[in-house]
Symmetry: C2
Subunit: 197 residues, 2 copies
């Protein structure tokens, strides 16, 4: 390598998900050849974001203020609380649906083998929130994986203990999908849970 | 989006080649969730590299010093000069071959329609270099594209004008490839340029 700084940059770029040696090289050369201003902007944005973005004390989502804008907003329906595994899931729901309630971001899922229990997911603060009495429905939007389902089961129990109605995202055939290519488990579930039209 | 800084970071990440909105989101969340230290290292490395890396005055490759370590090295054979289009090509040759000569990085290829002529490729300094009389062979390693071939032709003429022997990378069937899948042009060329064994 012709420059130690270049080598250091390529190495540092590999911290990005899905970026190996070759992609990191390509990125470094691209930035140095054609995007120096953009690269400087990226360095500044990255440094500022890492320094200033923490977690909202209410919903545990990323936030630069103590309480995030969503939790602080008077326009959101505080009777509805939607529990998601990650900030990306929260964003996906916010962008795709017209949901106007609040969120709770678990930042993970129950996984005893990895040492992730109720405490790591901040469930004590969720319990305190449910106990406040304002939440009427807990929409459980964990991923449909084994660990996500276990987490959903646990959350539903918590909700019932506090007289809050738990609900779960509907499972079934994806819109625009072809039955032929839908996996067996999903098809069988969709068949069993068919609805009257 | 729950945070303006997060939005700004996602936007800034899109400057990377091949990174769209979704990948940028994934990268930002990954860095904030799991790699804050790595992210800070990346920000620092990026900012330092962009600030300090310029071009070597001899070979036009990226370099943090005026003359890059390769050009300054007494161990390299100054009779051989290899012209490549980009720093990435130079690196590929350096890593794959046992080449011990020097390089000249064009930082592009002749492309009159895009306003890239001999001056943009630094060919005046290449001519000065050839005129010094030390170089005996100019190895032309431009890409086998139309523009790369045109550039190679031009460089070969320059070399001959200064009594320097021009040479070109061999074309043919890639090692480990299957004849069945080699494109027609390459196969026809390889057939025509067959060598006695």
């Amino acid at each position: 390598m012709s420059s130690a700084l270049l080598e250091q940059l390529i190495d540092a770029l590999r911290v990005l998900p899905g970026v190996g040696q070759k992609s990191a090289q390509r990125m470094a050369y691209h930035l140095l050849e054609r995007e120096r201003a953009g690269g400087q902007r990226l360095a500044a944005a990255l440094s500022e974001a890492i320094e200033k973005i923490g977690h909202c004390v209410r919903c545990r989502d990323f936030s630069e203020s103590e309480v995030c804008p969503t939790c602080a907003s008077a326009a959101r329906d505080a009777h509805l609380l939607c529990a998601v595994e990650s900030p990306a899931d929260r964003l996906a729901i916010e962008q795709a649906t017209g949901y106007r309630g609040l969120y709770f971001v678990l930042q993970g899922r129950l996984s005893p083998l990895d040492g992730i229990g109720p405490r790591e997911l901040g469930l004590d603060s969720l319990v305190a929130r449910l106990a406040e009495g304002e939440v009427q429905e807990l929409i459980i939007a964990t991923n449909p994986t084994v660990e996500g389902e276990a987490t959903a089961h646990y959350l539903a129990q918590l909700a019932r203990q506090h007289a809050v109605k738990p609900s779960r995202l509907a499972h079934g055939v994806p819109l625009g999908g072809e039955l032929e290519y839908v996996d067996r488990g999903t098809l069988s579930h969709a068949f069993g849970s068919r609805t009257e039209v």
